[in-house]
């Protein structure tokens, strides 16, 4: 179990998609492939519109992840919290699955008396600390998000600060959408440290379309590609944690 890797997509956006496939469907696709999708909605001074909110919650639910809507100012704290929460959620799913194997098909954590749950939780805690984590960060740079990008960058530094305090290894990569020549554009390939982001971020230009669905699909494809190339390299199946219902 300890050798596994958690895979997440972290989508940072401020509203509704208006181009391409349904992002909720693409999030479901990601989940099918063992990738959790988390969404952070960034608010302006005023509130987010109802449709945007529904889409944000829908993507996270379909992607087996966590969603949170915040003001730009609170972004740092939220990004790390959402990521940690989703990790715990996934790991607890994994541990629950193991429990079912030990205790029988209908058993879950809630069927254990509270006194006995503590040890299970310690296992989850321990895994959360040591597991390898891959986070693909997908940033909406369309329209009004542009002014929030410096805050987003700060939040991502903060995220790597939090996650690199863990014992387990981390890999990050960053994509923005829409890209210069397509739906998405890779701005940072897999790296353990987000510090290198500073050089690529200011160059971004933002356009009008918001292709959230296609961007998610391409992110999943990027994960798939990585897995395949790894498989070719070490000719063994790389294990990863699959999200399971709790």
């Amino acid at each position: 179990m300890r050798k596994g890797t958690l895979r997440q997509i972290l989508l940072i956006t401020d509203g509704c998609s208006n181009h391409g496939e349904d992002p909720i469907a693409m999030a479901a696709l990601a989940k099918e492939q063992g990738i959790t999708v988390n969404v952070i909605g960034v608010l302006d001074q005023d509130t987010i519109d109802e449709n945007g909110l529904r889409e944000i919650e829908g993507i996270a639910m379909a992607g087996g992840g966590v969603s949170q809507v915040v003001y730009a100012k609170q972004l740092s704290q939220t990004v790390q919290m959402v990521t940690r929460k989703a990790m715990t959620q996934t790991l607890q799913g994994v541990v629950n699955k193991e429990l079912k194997q030990i205790l029988g098909s209908n058993a879950s954590l809630e069927d254990l008396p509270p006194e006995k749950r503590g040890e299970v939780m310690e296992v989850v805690d321990e895994l959360g600390e040591t597991v390898e984590l891959e986070v693909l960060i997908l940033i909406d740079t369309s329209g009004s998000m542009k002014t929030k990008l410096p805050t987003v960058k700060e939040a991502l530094f903060d995220l790597s600060l939090s996650l690199n305090a863990r014992i387990g290894d981390n890999q990050f990569s960053v994509f923005v959408f829409p890209g210069k020549h397509g739906n998405t554009e890779k701005v940072l390939d897999w790296t353990p440290n987000l510090e290198s982001l500073s050089s690529v971020f200011p160059k971004l230009t933002s356009g009008g379309l918001t292709p959230t669905g296609p961007a998610l699909r391409e992110a999943v494809a990027f994960y798939f590609e990585k897995k395949r190339s790894l498989r070719g390299l070490i000719s063994g199946d790389e294990s990863y944690f699959e999200e399971s219902s709790m």
Partner: protein, 323 residues
């Protein structure tokens, strides 16, 4: 789903009776004590009297906090956090779900800042020294408190004693801090990592002291270290602790006890300076003079006692003569 459930848990109405599924204890909600991202704490009435009860939509939160509270209770003879009384699930009919909760001792007290405002700034240092003693014990057990902030400090009892609340951030040393608040987090200030070590808590202690003297919250600037250093220098209460606070901010202290010792030293150093505003050399001469004066005074008393005794003996003698 999570969102509405969370809202619901923050708004349990007064009089709601929470009954445990496993242990069947009943708790009647009296009022909301506080709520955060991970749940809500209520004051409740039970057979054992008043208790604090924490409900959450997340089993994980409840379980890891219970784990920490259990460890706390093993640290004997010191009240690090509230003691744990019960852990259970409650079937809430209005959401048709099992809600995990735990019950702890209700600590009647005042929030740190409220207390300082009422009783005066001189309490800051005393309460911080108490806090450092508690932290020392916690660190010795291999833990770091993590989310150390005034809201999690309660001043209770007579004599006023500081108590730690909300163990959600308590982390084993060497791991990543579980929960924190930016303003008190050395990572946010760019002054260290989020790996749990005793120095992480000591940084927060320094920030609490600064915040106690600058009630309005401020934001970090380009050079955070210099910014904090200047703020400490500019405040009359903090100035005397400048060296100690900067050492805590830089993460120089490896143990709470070291910081405590230096704070005490700074406190008394200041008292000496206050008494005599003359330079140190003069001061020693002055002290010597005072000592001499004291000696002289001692001599006079001695003489007086001898004279009194002699007089008394003489009077006795005269009395004897008369008889």
């Amino acid at each position: 789903m999570n969102h509405t459930l969370k809202n619901h848990l923050c708004k349990l109405s007064v009089g709601t009776v929470v009954v445990g599924k496993w242990h069947h204890h009943a708790y009647k909600i009296i009022k909301l004590l506080g709520n955060g991202a991970n749940g809500a704490v209520y004051l409740a009435e039970s057979k054992r009297g008043l208790v604090a009860i924490k409900v959450s939509d997340s089993n994980t939160t409840i379980l890891s906090e219970v784990n920490v509270l259990k460890r706390f209770s093993k640290v004997q003879g010191v009240a690090l956090g509230p003691s744990l009384l019960d852990v259970d699930d409650w079937f809430d009919p209005s959401v048709n779900r099992l809600i995990p909760f735990y019950v702890m001792e209700y600590i009647r007290g005042e929030e740190f800042f409220t207390f300082i405002k009422k009783r005066g700034k001189e309490w800051i240092i005393i309460l911080m020294l108490q806090l450092l003693s508690s932290l020392e014990k916690l660190h010795k057990e291999g833990w770091v408190f993590g989310d150390l902030k005034p809201e999690n400090l309660l001043v209770a009892g007579m004599p006023p004693t500081i108590r730690l609340l909300d163990v959600g951030g308590t982390t084993l040393q060497g791991r990543a801090i579980k929960e924190f608040t930016e303003f008190y987090d050395r990572g946010y200030w760019g002054l260290g990592s989020r790996k749990a070590d005793p120095a992480y808590d000591l940084f927060a202690v320094a920030m609490i002291m600064i915040h106690a003297c600058y009630p309005r919250k401020f934001e970090r600037k380009e050079n955070a270290r210099q910014q904090l250093s200047e703020m400490i220098q500019a405040d009359a209460t903090l100035r005397k602790y400048h060296k100690v606070l900067m050492k805590a901010i830089d993460g120089t202290y490896k143990q709470a006890i070291e910081m405590k010792r230096d704070l005490v030293a700074a406190l008394h150093h200041n008292d000496l300076l206050k008494k005599e505003s003359q330079p140190p050399l003069r001061k020693t001469r002055n002290q010597r003079k005072m000592q001499r004066k004291a000696k002289k005074r001692g001599g006079i008393v001695e003489t007086a006692v001898i004279v009194a005794t002699l007089l008394f003996a003489y009077v006795l003698y005269l009395y004897g003569q008369v008889l």
